[in-house]
């Protein structure tokens, strides 16, 4: 698994029962927000039941990454977040890991998401080469089926990992 990469990392692929609809129809999403969220092709989703928390939470700096993606997304790419504005909460964890959190993305928007996240790492963190990142991507194909890709490892592998995800998503 790790032979094409310089540093060790975790990369898992699994089938997912989640897609845009399953997230948008969560009970904590107000009915009036659902129509807007249906336009998303990149959707940040929360952790549910995180450490016995009763409310859904997002990893630290999700708001920052979300705004960066919104500002830089090209026309036709709609970035949104699966929570009402007033219910947004962040959890700050212990380690210096850069956590992009969980993102649901349509297969067609995946290359754009990769470029946007890479640009964020370059501009905001100046590719802190000694840092690790953690991201969970659920890639949804045109028939609404989702596949989940979890990556935790060095920043420098990120582009190669997304290329791997793209290839796996095409199969």
């Amino acid at each position: 698994m790790n032979t094409n990469f310089d540093q060790p990392f975790d990369f898992k692929v699994s089938d997912s029962s989640e897609n845009f609809d399953t997230w948008i129809n969560r009970e904590y999403i107000p009915a009036e927000s659902r129509t807007l969220l249906r336009n998303a092709n990149i959707l940040f989703v929360p952790h549910e039941n995180f450490h016995e928390q009763k409310v859904p939470v997002f990893p630290h700096k999700t708001e920052e990454v979300f705004h960066f993606l919104r500002r830089h997304a090209p026309k036709g790419i709609n970035v949104d977040i699966c929570i009402a504005d007033d219910d947004y909460k962040e959890v700050v964890l212990h380690s210096a890991l850069i956590i992009f959190g969980s993102i649901v993305v349509s297969a067609i928007a995946l290359p754009v998401l990769k470029d946007l996240l890479s640009e964020y790492l370059k501009q905001k963190l100046f590719n802190k080469s000694n840092s690790n990142i953690k991201v969970s991507l659920t890639v949804v194909n045109t028939s609404g089926k989702g596949k989940q890709f979890d990556y935790e490892g060095p920043i420098e592998n990120f582009d190669k990992v997304v290329a791997k995800i793209q290839r796996a998503g095409e199969k």
Binding site: V57, H67, D85, V91, V92, K124
Partner: protein
Amino acid sequence: MDTEAIKQFLNDVHQRHKDYDYTKVKSVLQELKRGFVATNKQDEAKEVWCYEQTINAQKNFMEAYKALKQEKFYEAWCILEKCEIALLYLKPHFYQRFSEYSLDFIENHARMLQSLYPYKLFISPEMLIHHYKCSICDQRVVLRNPCRHEVGEIYNGEMCVRIIDGIEFLGSAFVTNPVQKYSVPFLTDQQTGKTVDPYNYNLVKFLIEKLSTPFDDWSLKWTKKLHPHSKFKHLSRNDKCPCASGKKYKQCCLNKKGVLMDHCIFSIPGIEGCEERIL
């Protein structure tokens, strides 16, 4: 003192390492920034901010060196952390000029100094953040209706950061790679209540004794070296393996040719064959 004089002053950092009083330069910069902000010269105000951060990095690096010379190891550790943070903020805005003000030297050498410390475990909190405010406009951050300020960018000569407005402490944990490295665990003497420092600073001491200035161009290389079992005769089979794997000696290196340990090779100007292993 004009901008050119300030640049020259910052550029000459390695020549005035014994006298690093930045008070005058700082007040000149503050005055300059006030003027630029008043006339909405954003680029110029940003440049002043970059010089202020450069000062923070240079000053902290020299203060860390001074603390190390006085064997105030934890104090030096905290100052190096401040130095690292100043460089982290500055780098995206000032990368092209890092070598001009010895900032690349400071970045590399601060990192190498940190790697010599025995601190491997830190205490880190877990928190739930309810709301944020923008440090520039003081507005509450709203997901779908944010203010125009971007975190990390410079406005009116100040960096935009998030101010936490509502926080809940959830717990703490021991971690090896913390967000901030200040929280080093120490022991407490049960009888006197005083803090006890149980760490072995031999590697840092070994280096710092040989340096004459903070800008001596030393370097180091981490490798592995095999040590014969005869060196560890004082250990029993059930003791922890000296390779620091955390396993028992008998379940780790005892069945191998020797004990593979981290090994540090220093290169210090004017000193030949300078090497030391982790003790």
